[in-house]
Amino acid sequence: MKKFFKMAVALSVMALAAGSASAWNWPWAAKSENKISLTGSTTVLPIAQKAAEEFMKINKGVEVSVKGGGSGVGIAAIIDGSADIGNASRAIKAKEIINAKSKGINPVGNEVAKDGIAMVVHKSNPIDAITLDQLRDIFSGRITNWSKIGGGSGKIVAVSRDTTSGTYEVFGELVLRGAKLRDDAIMTVSNREVAENVKNTEGAIGYLGLAFLSDEMKVLKVEGVMATEANVINGTYKVARPLYMYTNGEPSGLVKQFIDYVVSSEGQKIVKEVGYVPVK
């Protein structure tokens, strides 16, 4: 028993010493100072790609590689050290934080943009505002006629993005909240297709990114707040989410330069160009 106790104490002290030591690296494993890699969310991908192109134009000799794969892949890449920046269209989960911290990784979320989703109906629809619960009931099939929410008496035609899109993911998380999308929803492959369906169908209701709004459809207030960039930024509009670039610890060196560029006025122009809401 004594032998076991002594060994346990000795090994534990060694483990604590090793774990509390700062991260280091072998001399031969030092990373190139001119290269950074990003991987992860397909929602963040257009921002990352365009920003990487522009950043490389400004900084000659610098190589920025960008890959997709999904938010989970991006965060996993930060945890296993296979990328410098992990792109994510959601906040890191408790499970991922625990996994990261256990491995000595300190994930830091750098918010680079916001993704706001507007609710739109046909121009002839008399309603101007809707609640999150009404939206959930419409898109899950509990409400099928506009008369239930004071929007005339026609049948509701729900227009949704396909389930693989990032926009659907946000919609599911913030609006459906666990409910199943109605079986008769029209599934579309792009924001433009949603817009086409809504402007051409009298009883239609759909959702799309703020960058795709036009005068050809009516935008509804959600919980009394209009879907505008200002309301997304100030947090009052509820169907919106932040987009992140995760790093291990506070960014430094070239990684910091890149993230600083993305949140700079030039980088935020790119954010707007590709259809998202700037954070500044």
Binding site: A15, S20, W28, A29, I98, K101, L176, G178, K180, L181
Partner: protein, 341 residues
């Protein structure tokens, strides 16, 4: 072979049906692993082993739908114990995580029902950086998977996570015939980045299930199992120290108490190459003499491609260490490819 095909077909079919029942468009992933191993072994009695084997093949299916996640793992095991059959087939995992149960969903808790990994010590987190099994698996103290229901959740501020539940106590390779159940509980705390502590308990009251239908049962396997793991990670090194204690029924000349201490260390040398070492000393019964065992294992892992890893291991096992005549020493040299697909 026909049985293997039948089981595979039935599993795939049942998964497809369940996917259809749960939600309109769940996301399903099919993936797996295959381990091909060469073992060269000899002991001090000059007995030799030289064997090629496809040690294991896992076929995994994961389905994620609204409010649930289901997983199925088929384990094709190439075991020397199999006679006349090349591969034994086990269903290793077949569980559903229920993620949107009332009251629990707001607390971020899930309930896992079915055949699942046992949340104990390092057995459910061991990713085989060495070819050898996790300490409690190697010592056959705990089954790696079992039938049951567990509650899983997180501590506030992502300070850690916990699992607690009821399991059959018979393990995944046996149909349950015992009356009593095992209880399992694990608490993992990450107080600071780079350090974690996990305490686990698995208890099985040996009592009623000594008899099944009036007949003595050989299934009463567990008494008490305790584990404390102190782990660390600070790139490029990681590792843990684990202390284990087992308590079984006393008998003549036996205390029923066993102890073990294990230490593992892994070091990333470059992106594709890492080195690993494990030491374990165990005393299966504190009253018996010359039943202690030591295990030393070292290995190098090389990622040949993104999907293929080569593992080269040497391990030495010393049996009956506690004094008297020299221990039985077994030396194993192993080379293994792990193909992920």
């Amino acid at each position: 072979m026909r049985n293997v095909l039948r089981i595979t077909a039935a599993a795939v079919l049942s998964l497809a049906i369940s996917a259809g029942v749960f939600a309109a468009e769940p996301e399903t992933k099919v993936y797996g692993y295959n381990w091909f191993r060469y073992t060269l072994g000899y002991d001090n009695a000059k007995e030799k082993t030289s064997a090629f084997e496809v040690k294991r093949t896992y076929v995994r299916v994961k389905t994620t739908g609204e409010g649930y996640e289901g997983a199925l793992t088929l384990d094709y095991e190439n075991s020397a114990a199999q006679t006349g059959v090349n591969f034994g087939t086990w269903v290793k995992n077949a569980y559903v995580d229920l993620k949107s149960l009332p009251l629990l969903v707001d607390a971020g808790m899930t309930v896992r029902v079915g055949l699942q990994g046992v949340p104990f010590g390092t057995i459910d987190t061991w990713e085989y950086p060495l070819i050898e099994k996790a300490p409690e698996d190697k010592l056959k103290l705990v089954d790696s998977a079992d039938y049951g229901v567990t509650l899983r959740g997180y501590l506030p501020m992502a300070l850690g996570n916990f699992e607690a539940g009821i399991l059959s106590g018979s393990g995944y390779k046996k149909a349950e015939a015992n009356l009593d159940k095992s209880v399992v509980a694990s608490l993992n705390i990450v107080p600071i980045t780079g350090i974690y502590v996990r305490g686990s308990y698995l208890g099985h009251q040996i009592g009623e299930d000594q008899q099944v239908n009036g007949q003595p049962s050989s299934l009463a396997k567990y008494a008490d199992r305790k584990s404390v793991v102190l782990g660390f990670g600070s790139s490029p090194i990681s590792g843990f120290v684990e202390a284990l204690e087992s308590k079984d029924q006393k008998s003549s000349g036996k205390s029923g108490i066993g102890q073990a201490l294990a230490a593992y260390l892994g070091v990333e040398i470059i992106d594709a190459i890492s080195a690993h070492a494990m030491y374990m000393t165990s005393n299966p019964d504190t009253l018996r003499v010359r039943d202690e065992k030591n295990l030393y294992a070292i290995g190098v892992n090389y990622d040949v491609t993104e999907k293929v890893m080569l593992q080269l291991n040497y391990q030495m096992e010393q049996d009956k260490v506690g004094g008297g005549s020299s221990p039985v020493t077994t030396n194993l040299w192993m080379a293994q490819t792990k193909w992920s697909w």
